[in-house]
Symmetry: C2
Subunit: 225 residues, 2 copies
DNA sequence: CCATCTGATTGACCTAAATCAAGGCGGGAT
DNA sequence: ATCCCGCCTTGATTTAGGTCAATCAGATGG
């Protein structure tokens, strides 16, 4: 089944696709298709030869391994917006785990040989990919640091400052997603986010108008994060 | 200044070096040297041409950017065991940030052109790197999930199960690092780790003898994580 | 042998944030 | 209009885990 434009756009934002030029991406798309899995349906088994790697559009994929003792161990749960089996794709050989839909799930299946060929034949693309992945890893390290050594309030402030465009005229942020999604990304409950914003509003540091937040004192906020 | 064997070993464990063969690594080492920075000393400036990328041996590196408005913004703090400026190395051009020692700091400076040349001339190496980085990213995603949606006790149990060798005869774990380091990795205080272990001991789920921990009921523990 | 130091443990206490519960508000559909 | 139904906010309560502090066991060293 082919990808619709919304799926393609979502896929393009994935870290393995973002570094591709438009023509390269179109080339990859020509070797891709959508698979819809029912709950529990198997996508591939441990030991199968690697033919594709995947990107989750919706639902959740369960990557599990069957130990010699027979018990099944969940190795990873893959959520929308993330790839899986890319490491296997790059190395070739056989899949080290089973992949099943944990619920009804849609994935993009991308041709493994084709993508490896693309990377092999293009040193520049390879370096772009490595560069992109390096940056992503630094972001994730920072995210882990934030979660462990900053308070919820500090993470909220950090998020607001992050969203602030570089040289913006008025220091204001428009939230592009519902507040409960932001709360989840920051690792806090929606109630807590609401309370933090209320407290900052009380201190005159910000103004909140629905999804529009004006940062009244960027310096003070920066000192708090 | 040259690397001593301990430094080289530490560097080899970094994600960019782990995929290299011994001869490739030796080749990289031949183009590497150690720089010792005093507190506040500059390693490179924003806008300098990219000549090296780096690995922190000890201390902390402060990566900061000077905004047009003149104020200095800390972009990243890099701790021992991590690389920095690798993304810039892969892309070439100029460093997008300043790098300074936040305290007295030792780093390995690796020749940028040489490493890029190595990767460019060796498609297999390139794929090994991409594969390794993919795996690392999955690990980090899991770490973030753990931090946000598991309790401290669950993370401790998860850690113990992780350390458990695949088909070990006796289900026991020998802690290779001091407890306070483990606590830090799990994002909790040493006191909390101690309490969690005490509670598990109280429930007869584990036995603790100094740095040796025996898992009495692996299944029960697995259910709790 | 004692002095000291480091890491681990335990207790008392406190704070940040989760949870539970009750409205409020705007946008659709009927 | 009225009724819902998400989404957000706010309040009351609970709890996990951090902080502070005392103690203890081993290690090191004079």
């Amino acid at each position: 089944m082919n990808l619709n434009p919304a799926d393609a756009q979502f896929l393009k934002e994935g870290y393995l696709m973002a570094p591709l030029s438009d023509t390269e991406f179109a080339d990859v798309l020509a070797h891709a298709n959508v698979r819809t899995l029912t709950q529990g349906e198997c996508l591939f088994n441990q030991g199968d030869p690697v033919t594709h790697f995947f990107f989750v559009l919706s639902g959740v994929i369960n990557l599990c391994r069957v130990a010699p003792s027979g018990e099944e161990k969940v190795m990873d749960l893959v959520r929308p917006g993330f790839f899986f089996a890319e490491a296997a794709m790059f190395m070739g050989g056989r899949y080290p785990v089973n992949a099943r839909g944990l619920e009804a799930t849609r994935v993009v299946a991308l041709d493994s040989k084709h993508f490896v060929g693309l990377v092999r034949g293009n040193g520049d693309l390879c370096l772009r990919l490595l560069s992109k992945m390096s940056r992503r890893m630094h972001e994730m390290i920072n995210e882990i640091d934030n979660l462990t050594l900053h308070s919820g309030a500090q993470r909220v402030i950090g998020y607001l400052l992050e969203q602030l465009p570089e040289g913006a005229a008025s220091p204001s942020v428009k939230l592009s997603v519902p507040k409960h999604v932001i709360a989840s990304r920051l690792g806090i409950q929606p109630e807590t986010l609401s309370r933090v914003l209320a407290k900052l509003r009380g201190k005159q540091l910000i103004d909140v108008h629905d999804d529009m937040i004006v940062l009244n004192d960027v310096d003070a906020l920066r000192r708090l994060s």
